[in-house]
Amino acid sequence: MDVEILARLQFAFTIAFHYFYPPLSIGLGIFMVITEGLYLKTKDKFYEQLTKFWVKIFALTFAMGVASGIVMEFEFGTNWATYSRFVGDVFGSALAAEGIFAFFLESGFLAILVFGWDKVKPKMHFFSTLMVSLGSMFSAVWIVVANSWMQTPAGFHLNGEGINTRAEITDFWAMVFNPSSVDRLLHTLSGCWLAGAFLVISVGAFYIIKERHLRYAKSSIKIALVIALCASLFQLFTGHQSAVGVSKNQPAKLAAMEAVFSDQENAPLYLFGWVDEKGQEVNFGLAIPSLLSFLIGMDSETRITGLNSIPPQDRPPVNIVFQAYHFMVAIGFALILISLLGLFYWWKGNLFNQKWLMWIFVLSVLLPQIANQLGWITAEVGRQPWIVYGLMKTSDGLSKAVEEGQVWFSMILFTFIYLILFVLFIYLLDSKIKLGPEDAEIIKSEIGHSK
C-alpha cells in the first residue's frame, strides 16, 4: 500500500473512533441541562441524583473524546503537511478559534460539573452544566465550519504559484458562513442530540427490563423521548436542506449519493439498490420516479447533474457514497418511527409495559451512532478526490517528509490502542450502568477500603 492509502485509512480510522464520543457529550449535555434544570425548579433531590448519574457517564465519554481528539488536532500536521501549508490561513484559524472559544469553556466548567457539587451553589452548578453543554456545541460549530470550508470553500483567494500556492482569507465571515456551514452544522448537531437521547433511552429501557431503578429509568426515558422526537424530525428538515445545498455546491457528490449517471429531469429517488459503477446502473433497486428532482427543486422537472458531466478524474466512488447515504436516511426514518412509537404508548399510558419496545429501545443506542458515521462517510467520501473541493486533490495534500514505514507504524499502533480503549470504554460504561444511579454511595465505600 502506498502512503496515500495508509494516511487516508489512518485519518478515517482515527476520526471515526473520535466521532463516537463528542456526539454523546453534546447529546448528554442537553439532557443534563434539562434534568438539572428540573432539580433547580422542583428542588427534588431525585433530579439531582439523576443528573449526577449521567454526569459520571458524561465524564467517561468526555475523557475518551479528549484523548482521541488531541490526535485530530495534530494529525493534519503529521500526515497532511502539504494540505496544512496550503490551508493554514483558513483552516488553522477555525481550529484555533475552537480552542479559544470552545475547549477552554468546556474544560473549565467541566471541573465544576464533575467535581464541584459541594464547592458551589446549585445555581452556579447549573450554570456550569449549561456552559459545558454550550462549549461542546461551540466546538462543533468551529469544526463543522472548518470542514464545510473544505466542502464549499469561500471568502479566500489563492496567493503564490506552484508549490507555494496558499489559500488566504479575504473575508472572514464569508469563510465562516460558507455556503454549506449552517445546514451541515444543524444536521451534525441534531445527529449529536440523537446520539445522546438514544443512549439515555437505551439505558433507561435496560433498567425497565431488569426492573431496577424504575423511577430514574422512567423519568430519563420520557425526557429523552421528547428530545429524540424533536431532533429526529428536525433531522429530516436539516438533511433535506443539506441535500439541496449539495446539489447546488457539489453536484458530483449528489450524483454519487443517488447514483445519477446522466443529466436528467424527473430523476428518480432510490429507496435502496446496489450500484454497478462500470455498467452505470443500479441493480436490485427500488426507485420512486421523479422524486429526487422534486425534492431538490420542488418541481419534478428540476434537472439533476449526472456523473457523466463531471470529468472522470473528478468523480467520487459511487457505491460507497450511495450505500452510506441510503443507510443513513433509512436510520433517520427508523429513529422517527421509534420516537413516535414511544410517545404513542406513553400517551396511551402503558409505555413501560411494552417489553418488545423496551428491547428495541435498548438496541436503538447503536442507530444514531451508525447514522452519524455514515453521514460523515457520505460527506467525506463524496468530496473525493478533492481534499478541498475544486482546489486541492487529496493525493496532493500528503506530508512529503513522511514515509510508508512510518505510517504503518502509527497505523498499527492506533489500531491496537484504540481497540483496547474501546473495549475498556464499553466495559466501564457497562459497569457504571449496571451499578445504576442509586448505588453511587456504594462505590465510595468500596474504594475507601481497597488498597
Binding site: F74, A111, I112, E168, A401, K444
Partner: protein
C-alpha cells in the same frame, strides 16, 4: 538587529505565552504524574490524582490551543515540525491518550492489578511527555536539517542526541520540582511532609540539569546568546530565573506554599522567555543551512489572518483567563475526597 512589534512578532509572543501557560499549568500535573509511583498507598495515590483532577484537562487545552494557534499563525512551522518529527509526535500523542484515560479509568474499578496498571501508565506517560517536549525544544535550539521546500530532511534518530536528551531530562526535572511544590500545596499531614522532602531533592536535580544544559547550550550553540550580547538588559531574565529558583526552598521552609508555587511558575516563565529570546526571530532553525530556517516572516499566514486571529484572541483570552482563575479559586485548598472523586 532591529526589534519592532509587528503582527508577526506579536504572534510569536502570543504563541510563546500560550506555551508558557501550558508549561506552567500542565507542568505541575505532569510533575504529579512523575512522582505518582513514589507514593505507595492507594488512598494517597488517589489524593495525588484528585489534586489535579478538576484541572488537568483544562491544562491540556493550552497545548491544543497552542497547536491550533501555531497552525493558524505559522502554518509552515506546524506542517514542517509535525511531519518532520512524525515518530516523536505519534509517540507523544499515544502518551497523551494513555495519560488521559489512565486518570479517568484508574479509580473506576477496585482491583489491585487494574489500579496498578493505570498508575504505571499515568506515570510513564507523564515522564515521556515531559521528555519528548524537552527533546523537541532541544532540537529547535540545535537546529534540524530543512530542505529548500521547507521540508524536514533528517531522520528520527538524529533528533535524539546527547544534547537533546539532556534538554529532555532537564524538562523532566523541572516538572518534577514544579509538581512536588504543587503537591505540597494540595496535601496535608504525612504525605505533605514527604512531598516537601521531594521538593528539596528535585530542586537539586533540576539545578544540576539546568547548569549543565546552560553550559552546553553556550558552548555548542552560542547563537542562543546573540541577543543577550546585543541587549545586555535581557540578562535580567536569567537573573530573575535564578532568584526564583533560589527562593523556592526558602518559601517551603517558612510554610508559604503558594509563594513557593509562584516562584516555580516564575522560573518556568523565565526559562521559556530565555529560550524565546534565544531563537527569535526563528521558529525552527535550519542546521546546517541557516538560510533555510523557518522564521516568523517566511512561515507566517497572511496579514489578514494574523489580524483576524488577533481579534479572536483579544475577545477570547480575557474569558479564558477568567475561567482559569475562577476554577483554580473554586478548587483552592487541600484535596478532600468524595463520591465524585477519581
Amino acid at each position: 538587529m532591529e526589534f519592532n512589534l509587528d503582527l508577526n512578532t506579536t504572534w510569536f509572543i502570543l504563541i510563546g505565552l500560550l506555551l508558557t501557560g501550558y508549561a506552567i499549568l500542565d507542568g505541575f500535573d505532569l510533575g504529579i504524574g512523575t512522582l505518582h509511583l513514589l507514593v505507595k498507598d492507594d488512598l494517597e495515590r488517589r489524593i495525588m490524582l484528585n489534586s489535579i483532577g478538576p484541572v488537568w484537562d483544562g491544562n491540556e487545552v493550552w497545548l491544543v490551543t497552542g497547536g491550533g494557534a501555531l497552525f493558524a499563525a505559522f502554518p509552515e512551522v506546524y506542517a514542517t515540525v509535525f511531519s518532520g518529527f512524525y515518530n516523536a509526535f505519534i509517540l507523544l500523542l499515544f502518551m497523551l491518550i494513555f495519560r488521559a484515560v489512565a486518570i479517568e479509568f484508574r479509580s473506576k474499578k477496585p482491583m489491585r492489578w487494574w489500579r496498578q496498571t493505570w498508575d504505571f501508565a499515568f506515570s510513564i506517560a507523564s515522564f515521556l511527555i515531559a521528555f519528548l517536549m524537552g527533546v523537541a525544544l532541544g532540537n529547535i535550539i540545535s537546529g534540524i536539517p530543512i530542505g529548500p521546500d521547507k521540508e524536514f530532511t533528517g531522520t528520527f534518530l538524529q533528533m535524539l542526541n546527547p544534547y537533546t536528551i539532556l534538554i529532555g531530562i532537564t524538562t523532566i526535572a523541572l516538572f518534577m520540582m514544579h509538581g512536588a511544590i504543587y503537591g505540597v500545596l494540595k496535601t496535608e499531614g504525612e504525605l505533605q511532609n514527604r512531598l516537601k522532602g521531594w521538593v528539596n531533592n528535585t530542586i537539586i536535580f533540576f539545578v544540576i540539569c539546568y547548569v549543565t544544559a546552560t553550559m552546553s547550550t553556550l558552548i555548542y550553540f552560542p547563537h542562543m546568546a546573540d541577543h543577550f550580547k546585543e541587549f545586555p538588559l535581557l540578562f535580567i531574565l536569567a537573573l530573575i530565573n535564578m532568584l526564583a529558583i533560589a527562593n523556592i526552598p526558602r518559601e517551603i521552609h517558612f510554610g508559604r506554599e503558594m509563594r513557593a508555587f509562584f516562584s516555580s511558575a516564575a522560573a518556568i516563565a523565565c526559562l521559556l522567555a530565555l529560550f524565546a529570546v534565544g531563537i527569535f526571530p526563528n521558529l525552527v532553525l535550519s542546521n546546517p543551512n541557516p538560510e533555510m530556517s523557518l522564521n516568523i516572516y517566511n512561515s507566517a499566514s497572511s496579514t489578514r489572518t494574523l489580524t483576524v486571529m488577533l481579534i479572536i484572541a483579544g475577545i477570547g483570552v480575557p474569558f479564558v483567563l477568567a475561567y482559569t482563575i475562577s476554577i483554580y479559586w473554586i478548587f483552592r485548598g487541600k484535596v478532600k475526597l468524595n463520591n465524585m472523586s477519581y
